[in-house]
Point group: C2
Chain length 248, copies 2
């Protein structure tokens, strides 16, 4: 098996970093990898923000309630961006009403998210570690203000990158047969029973990681997750719509 | 530079495949790579459909209006999937109302899209070629029926994979300075003028690729793209909402 796939199968999210910033060459290389990601209809409807200002990094860490964001070697925020394309079209007197459709938001978000995974792979190939930050979605209204995002630009995912200062265990994933199907979606029944062995594996993983901390099984975590309703996340659609996206 | 990053910088979408199906081992390895992708809050809110039935493949090709879909060595459809998690929670008498939020759709879609890029990288590392199929979103209502997708499951991206039967040129991407910003989103002005050199490069790329076909500059393509409104794509939000997603 080649080293690329070996690394992919060994992916760990890194949440503790040494105090070493990424070099400009490293940052440029990661952006270049992102630039070469596939993009819907060649529209390149995304942009990347590098957050180097310590105050802004601290603010993102506070919004995400994750201190390690402030301590990472480099912080990227991936943006779904139709603003550049809007200006290009308007300079040619072309109507841009379509940017209000869900479709044009979703292709832009997809571009940004595919590029994010490409950055993750490249960072790991460079011997760095990284973690995706969905937590930046906790208060999108605040990020829009902090980063001065114009109409048709929204943050979709953060990436904290750096020199790893931890070596976490590989986290056990759902068995293949409950998430990979052929030709038709099967009728799922008694899922908790079907996941009994997996639950035991997840329980053991947490037990080994930290005997004093959460030792939930997978199915228990899923049920608990349904009751978490972060107020800012419950308004995400409204914040995206405020930027001119998803009107229909 | 290591081979992983070299491959990433040399990414080409492949749209012509030899008549060789992927082996079960290859498919399982690609699914295993997907399984090891980062996932929001460890919820694993996505699934993967393998389309091996020639009739169903042909139907997807027809919906996407892309014949090469029917001719690829393997076809994956990435699903944003909260159905499995819904069942897990319901079996524990937990309310799942939150699944109607945009947030819970978006984390599921993000899981699926990150995993899609991981599959792309792995396929290329295996010497295969692939192309993402945004075109599966043209008629999501039909895919829901064909694949029997339950509530809280929607297709978000297709991947056609196979043994490459073409060697396309590297497609020139937007220059770094117009898509990578630091700390704040800049005020963009005269974008077409700023992209004049890039437009010339894109024009030359198309000219070399096919002298008889489209020789648009990038900015012209963007303007034309604003006027394309595929009827099915303009209803994408409605179809996703019909599956129980994005009610607020």
């Amino acid at each position: 098996m080649n080293s690329t796939i070996q690394n992919q199968l060994n992916h760990r999210s890194i949440r503790k970093f040494k105090d070493i910033p990424l070099t400009p060459d490293q940052i440029n290389l990661l952006v270049d990898v992102a630039r070469h990601t596939s993009t819907s209809s060649f529209m390149q409807s995304y942009s990347i923000l590098s957050i180097t200002d310590p105050e802004k990094k601290a603010k993102v860490a506070q919004i995400g309630n994750q201190n390690y964001i402030a301590e990472c070697g480099h912080l990227f925020i991936m943006l779904a961006d139709q603003h550049r394309n809007q200006l290009i079209a308007e300079e040619q007197d072309t109507d841009t009403e379509v940017l209000g459709s869900f479709d044009r938001f979703f292709v832009a978000a997809t571009d940004a998210i595919l590029a994010a995974q490409n950055i993750m792979i490249a960072a790991e190939a460079m011997g760095l570690g990284a973690v995706f930050l969905g937590s930046i979605l906790n208060q999108v209204d605040q990020l829009i203000e902090i980063f001065n995002l114009p109409e048709h630009v929204v943050p979709v995912l953060g990436i904290a990158i750096g020199h790893p200062d931890q070596a976490p265990q590989l986290k056990p994933r759902l068995p293949r047969d409950i998430m990979h199907f052929e030709n038709t979606y099967p009728k799922l029944e008694n899922v908790c029973e079907a996941l009994k062995d997996y639950d035991a594996i997840v329980h053991e993983y947490y037990d080994l990681r930290d005997a004093n901390n959460r030792v939930d099984a997978f199915t228990t975590q899923i049920a608990k997750g349904m009751t978490r309703k972060h107020p800012g996340r419950m308004q995400l659609l409204k914040f995206y719509q405020g930027q001119g996206f998803i009107k229909y």
